[in-house]
């Protein structure tokens, strides 16, 4: 086990270095920072002096090492667009995306797992068929169109829910929360729903496939043959076995939620990380983009590491296969 953890950890460090290198390359090769700081009037000698002062003339390796050192110390530099420290901007945007993602994930798991089970148990039933048809539509509908449809239905036609922005929030330290604010959760419903819909179809399909496979195994068939009540077989024998991959589902969903939150946040003008990234791309705000890249890379690596390690704990076959 120890060896497996060590190897997996070193892999993660390697991936993070690669991501940091990408971010650094973006930083280094997208435009000339000195030109952006000074302007045309500054004489070339002075520009050269600034360049040396900033260490831009140092060897590549030295610059990269310094970049990584700064990242590790949490020194992310300043945004070109707002002149704010990038760390502050990320910190301000994080709670919005965090709550949106958590609620969306909760919806997709709480609805997706039961729905996946249902469609596996009664594949020919009317409910299953309609659910499956809906997932096909869900996969084909672009996330932004789902968002617009929700806005139109609940915001324009029915007028029930707010359609853009975060609405009311409460601050707890630096974290701002919608869920705890009175009325704040109403603003969260539509974005979370539109983000959850696509994830929900994925969860459903995965649980369904897993469940169908488990139902085909001998111990289930034997239990049924023995006359154990059906619901008991499904809930006590089949469900636990098909839930092991749910960890993987959560890992996969995490990626999907990060990616699609960019789209959802754009549709609902939700002031989170995704909207920050889009603005930064449009304004060529390189420092924010490269920090976003590193930050997302880090989140991915941590989640994947956690999922893999949990897997190794739960499923001994993983450990054996990895050569122990």
């Amino acid at each position: 086990m120890g060896f497996y953890v060590l190897r997996r950890l070193s892999q993660s460090v390697f991936v993070m270095l690669a991501v940091a290198f990408l971010a650094f390359a973006l930083f280094r090769f997208a435009g000339d920072p000195v030109m952006q700081m000074t302007g045309v009037e500054t004489p070339p000698e002075q520009q050269q002096a600034i360049r040396e002062q900033l260490g831009l003339t140092d060897p590549f390796v030295a610059q990269f090492t310094r970049f990584v050192g700064e990242l590790l110390r949490g020194d992310f530099g300043f945004s070109f667009r707002t002149r704010q420290p990038v760390a502050e901007m990320i910190r301000d945007a994080l709670p919005a995306t965090g709550e949106l993602g958590l609620v969306a994930m909760a919806i997709s798991l709480l609805v997706g797992i039961p729905a996946g089970m249902l469609t596996a148990l009664r594949p020919k039933g009317f409910a299953s068929q309609s659910v499956l048809l809906m997932t096909l539509v869900g996969v084909s509908l672009p996330t932004f169109v789902t968002g617009i449809v929700l806005i139109f239905l609940f915001g324009v036609v029915l007028g029930w829910l707010p359609t853009f922005g975060r609405g009311q929030t409460v601050s707890i330290g630096w974290w701002t929360s919608n869920l705890l604010a009175r009325g704040g959760w109403r603003s969260l419903i539509l974005p979370a729903l539109s983000l959850a819909l696509y994830q929900l179809t994925l969860t459903m399909r995965l649980v369904r496939a897993q469940m169908m496979e488990v139902l085909r195994t001998d111990h289930i068939r034997f239990a049924l043959a023995r006359g154990v009540p059906r619901w008991r077989v499904y809930v006590r024998h089949a469900l636990p076995n098909s839930l092991i991959p749910v960890m993987t589902v959560i890992g996969l969903q995490f990626g999907g939620i990060i990616a699609f939150s960019i789209v959802t946040e754009s549709v609902f003008q939700w002031p989170g990380l995704g909207l920050l990234l889009l603005r930064s791309i449009r304004f060529v705000d390189v420092p924010v983009m490269s920090v976003y890249l590193v930050f997302i890379g880090l989140l991915f690596v941590i989640i994947n590491l956690a999922v893999d390690l949990l897997y190794a704990v739960v499923d001994p076959r993983v450990r054996i296969r990895s050569g122990e």
Partner: protein, 305 residues
């Protein structure tokens, strides 16, 4: 079952299954209508939405022809600039399709070549490429496309030509789609490589390129065809999403995604057609491509039927 054997089934069975599947028939009719309309845009549309000389601001916000204030000149109405919506949609779909098709083609060529080489030779190339593929598979395609697109837009200057930006978007989408092609091809090559007919060719001194191209590749065509259809749908969606987010094609070359973004401004006011007609067109196109892909998959893989 060996991956390619279904490709050799006779055409009669394809026609039989096709005619028995209403979803496949509806899907292909819709594909023909949407794709055909896009291809024939210059002949169907009465004006060119990319040419400011052909439309007039005084025509702005004309509703579709079936509403009371509609005009027969503009079948689907006009947008905020007075552009004919039908023309915009057809030209936009043409642009979207061109990017999606070339992105899918590029992804297929790159992915299949990598898969063939990795599967046949193995070794360090295989190890490195498949590790990259694993990492990429954990990233959703839209994130890859957005990051590649965003980073390239940062590096190239704002003034870069439309043509160049279209190329950047094509490459960004292709980069997020190649993995499926590579993995499928590689897995199939692994199976074929050790079969007797391949070993016989190796023994007879046939060149690897010939073995891969003439003997192995035809055997993996069936699954590749399915991936191509599915990925065409994904590519259309990716392009639309990028344009919707405002990091795709520039506004003077509106693709379907750009049209929907423009329409978003009118979701609260009465001009519903500016938003919903392009959105419906996009969704119809993607769903029908996906349905057709599902049919192809079931046809080639009868175990799922």
């Amino acid at each position: 079952m060996k991956p390619g054997s279904r490709a050799k089934r006779n055409d009669g069975e394809f026609a039989y299954l096709f005619l028995r599947s209403p979803a496949a028939i509806v899907a292909s009719v819709l594909v023909v209508l949407t794709v055909g309309g896009a291809l024939l845009a210059p002949w169907i549309a009465r004006s060119d939405p990319f040419d400011p000389g052909t439309y007039d601001l005084t025509d702005a916000f004309t509703p579709p022809v079936w509403s009371p204030e509609g005009e027969s000149r503009f079948v689907l109405g006009t947008d905020d600039q007075g552009r004919d919506l039908l023309a915009s949609i057809l030209y936009g779909a043409r642009l979207s399709l061109r990017i999606a098709l070339s992105a899918m083609g590029l992804a297929a060529v790159v992915g299949v070549s990598i898969g063939l080489i990795a599967g046949y030779y193995g070794g360090w190339f295989d190890a490195v490429v498949m590790r990259i593929a694993d990492v990429q598979l954990s990233l959703p395609a839209i994130l890859t496309a957005l990051l590649v697109d965003g980073i390239s837009l940062t590096i190239i200057s704002e003034s870069a030509s439309t043509e160049f930006r279209a190329t950047v978007i094509t490459v960004a989408i292709a980069l997020s789609l190649w993995v499926n092609f590579a993995r499928t091809t590689r897995a199939a090559v692994f199976v074929e490589r050790n079969k007797e007919y391949v070993q016989a060719s190796v023994m007879m001194g046939e060149r690897p390129r010939r073995i891969l191209g003439i003997q192995i590749l035809p055997n993996v065509l069936a699954p590749l065809l399915v991936i191509m259809t599915v990925d065409l749908g994904r590519a259309i969606l990716l392009e639309a999403t990028l344009s919707f987010l405002g990091v795709g094609l520039p506004p003077n070359q509106p693709s379907l995604g750009t049209l929907i973004r423009i329409g978003m401004n009118y979701v609260f006011s009465g001009e519903w057609w500016i938003l919903w007609i392009p959105a419906t067109f996009l969704v119809t196109m993607v769903i029908s491509v996906n349905l057709f892909g599902d049919f192809l998959r079931d046809y080639f893989n009868p175990r799922l039927r």
